[in-house]
């Protein structure tokens, strides 16, 4: 069974939590005792309806303020597939959480309040979806009930959104627009009768038919080595296997490979998944690979096929999203973690900072603080084996770790 990852973004009060609650409710994913707790909590708040948004706002501070602070993960299934939703906050100060939620998603769900239309946050959400190259974008025009399910209003918002997309310099993913009312469940799971003028799929119908052939299997073969397995037992005396998860592409038994950074070559002898011998390992599969020859390979090494080898980069230009209270300090050494490989890195310069609400370079701003997005140049102590993010996302992203606080301070996308 497949797993589809969705990220949701929205502004304050545009009904994101209600929409997720609605999806769970309509797929019968809310057990009776949780429903009862919802009824009771809604009543305590003096509401005359069951507030489905209370289902996902998990932290005390969130319940008090009625907002979503952190990334929450929500799960539901249909007979077709398993869904994982990363519900992320819409506030400007939580951009880093939006990026976090978006990093694993194949679908980005953007909510727009039908009364308000496109707002500053919409640009931000679109920019993040585009920056991370999320393949599917679903724009839900919500609260259609509050604009009398007006078709012209919906069309206006669609037009405005497409204008924004057209003006953006980055490649736009596949975009679907759906008029919904999450409060009343119109076009959420089932099709709405009240929105009869809309002939397309409901949100869930649309999600169900998305085919996600992990695009990465068409990408170059990359295998980051997590560890070397050497049991040294009687039974497996000479066994030396490389454990890892295929980042992208696929490997076959017999393939000629090259190990980086040693640049030594060998052939794949076996691919194992526990006791099973496989003939092929594809993107995202955790396996153990053994080679014909003893070559210099250890944790942090990367195996790739000899016909498509990643470049060894020591000077990197990348888009980054800064995620820490403490601003980026040019010249300071950070740890750069690319996949599982860590090297020391220094930021040479901040090229520019981008205003994500209009995709324009901010004049005269040369510093990156919390939630800022910009372009930087880095120099690393040892080379990393990365691809450009837009060519191969699975091998093109990295994080920066502050060596003193140990915090993850940024995420970067190799140009």
């Amino acid at each position: 069974m497949e797993v589809l990852h969705i990220t949701t973004s929205g502004s304050v009060d545009d009904g994101k939590s209600t929409l997720i609650g609605r999806l769970l409710y309509d797929t019968q994913s809310i057990p009776q005792d949780k429903m009862d707790a919802l009824h009771a909590a809604s009543k305590r708040k003096g509401l005359d309806f069951t507030d489905l948004s209370l289902l996902t706002d998990g932290l005390v501070a969130e319940r008090e303020q009625g907002i979503t602070i952190d990334v929450a993960h929500i799960y539901f299934s249909t007979p077709n597939r398993k869904y994982i939703i990363a519900d992320t906050p819409g506030h400007i100060e939580y951009t880093r959480n939006m990026v976090t939620g978006a990093s694993t998603a194949q679908v980005s769900l953007i909510l727009i309040d039908a009364r308000k239309g496109i707002v500053e946050q919409t640009y931000r959400h679109f920019f993040i979806a585009a920056l991370l190259r999320i393949p599917y974008l679903v724009v839900c025009v919500n609260k259609m009930d509050l604009v009398e399910y007006n078709e012209a209003r919906f069309n206006q918002i669609v037009e405005d959104f497409q204008q924004m997309v057209a003006s953006a310099s980055f490649q736009a993913p596949s975009i679907k627009f759906i008029p919904i009312s999450s409060l009343y469940g119109e076009n959420v799971a089932g099709r709405s009768e009240k929105i009869g003028w809309y002939k397309g799929e409901s949100l869930l119908e649309y999600l169900e038919q998305i085919t996600f052939d992990h695009a990465d299997s068409t990408h170059p073969a990359r295998f980051p080595v997590q560890s070397v397995i050497r049991p040294m037992t009687k039974e497996f005396h000479d066994f030396r296997g490389f454990a890892g998860k295929v980042a992208s592409g696929h490997f076959n038994v017999g393939d000629e490979i090259i190990s980086l950074p040693s640049q030594q070559k060998s052939r794949i002898k076996t691919i194992q998944q526990f006791e099973t011998q496989l003939s092929i390992a594809s993107a995202r599969e955790s396996v153990v690979i053994t080679l014909e020859d003893e070559i210099d390979t250890s944790r942090g090494s990367m195996l790739s096929k000899t016909d498509n080898v990643p470049s060894l980069l020591k000077e990197i230009t990348a888009q980054v999203c800064w995620m820490d209270q403490q601003k980026l300090v040019p010249g300071k050494a950070y740890l750069l973690q690319h996949g599982i490989n860590r090297v020391k890195a220094k930021v040479q310069q901040i090229n520019h900072v981008i205003d994500v609400t209009n995709n324009k370079i901010v004049e005269d701003k040369k510093e990156l603080g919390l939630n800022d997005i910009g372009k930087i140049t880095l120099k690393t102590a040892q080379p990393i084996f990365a691809d450009s993010y837009h060519v191969n996302p699975a091998n093109g992203a990295f994080i920066l770790v502050d060596e003193f606080s140990n915090a993850t301070v940024a995420v970067g996308f190799v140009e």
């Binding site: 069974m1 497949e2 797993v3 797929t27 019968q28 057990p31 009776q32 005792d33 949780k34 289902l55 996902t56 706002d57 998990g58 932290l59 005390v60 501070a61 319940r63 602070i69 952190d70 990334v71 929450a72 993960h73 799960y75 299934s77 249909t78 007979p79 398993k82 880093r96 990026v99 976090t100 990093s103 694993t104 799971a189 089932g190 997590q226 560890s227 397995i229 050497r230 049991p231 037992t233 039974e235 296997g241 454990a243 890892g244 998860k245 526990f274 006791e275 995202r284 599969e285 955790s286 153990v288 973690q337 996949g339 599982i340 992203a397 990295f398 994080i399 140990n406 993850t408 995420v411």
Partner: protein, 302 residues
Amino acid sequence: MTNKIQWEFPQALEDEAIYILRETAAQFEKPAILFSGGKDSITLVRLAQKAFYPGKVPFPLLHIDTGHNFPETIEFRDWLVEKLGLELIVRNVQDSINQGKVQEETGKYASRNALQTVTLLDSIEELKYDACMGGARRDEEKARAKERIFSVRDEFGQWNAKMQRPELFDMLNGKIHLGENVRVFPISNWTELDVWNYIRRENLRIPSIYFSHEREIIERDGMYWPTSPFLNTSEDEKPFLHKVRFRTVGDMTCTAAVASEADKLEDIIAEIMEAKISERGARIDDKRSEAAMEKRKQAGYF
């Protein structure tokens, strides 16, 4: 839309969990698996076995024994450890009580559930574990829905929900300061049903109390409580026999039974699909308040 029974386990979940276990082994000096004897930690042990094969599981199991466990769980634990040749370390809540570090709760809801946090934190300090893997899942409860896969705890074991490290793509940052430790949750993205389908696919043995059996119980607050020497009951709570099973395995004082005839895995899965009560709904420890889990997590609970 009606849910049909899903038998197929999403393989991506196993691949992800194995990746996390391998990262834990590589990034930390002294990791351990927190083992309760429940189905989630049994799943974790299976994943560890697969992650390092044909090598051995490179870390021990740590069991915080409240002394109020179901005997069936302890029997199962010892069988599993023996069969897989694992190292088991047990620390007892009773010792923390004897040392005066915690006090036994009183009243009819008395349980050692909260007490075990102290024993756990002491054990982590004593044994110098820098990473403890647990079988917690985000679908269990809404505070858990916000937990990271690598969740950093301070010296006092505290979880700071607002200061969590962002986790991007599958990159895990396990760097910590001396004295800090990390809770690792490899099956964060699994649901209860995923766990059961996995147990079925892997043909794993689980403690017998998960299956329907006849047991002496009392009824309290609309739930079935198993009788035991540890449960304080009043005169009017008359014990009776009933066919029940347990959906989770906690202490005998804080795990309610559900009426069930399900004595095969298939029946259990079918039952879960139709269940009206969520899994933790049978956990009396969560019923204390809406924020019960979040408060316990801040205090260092698993």
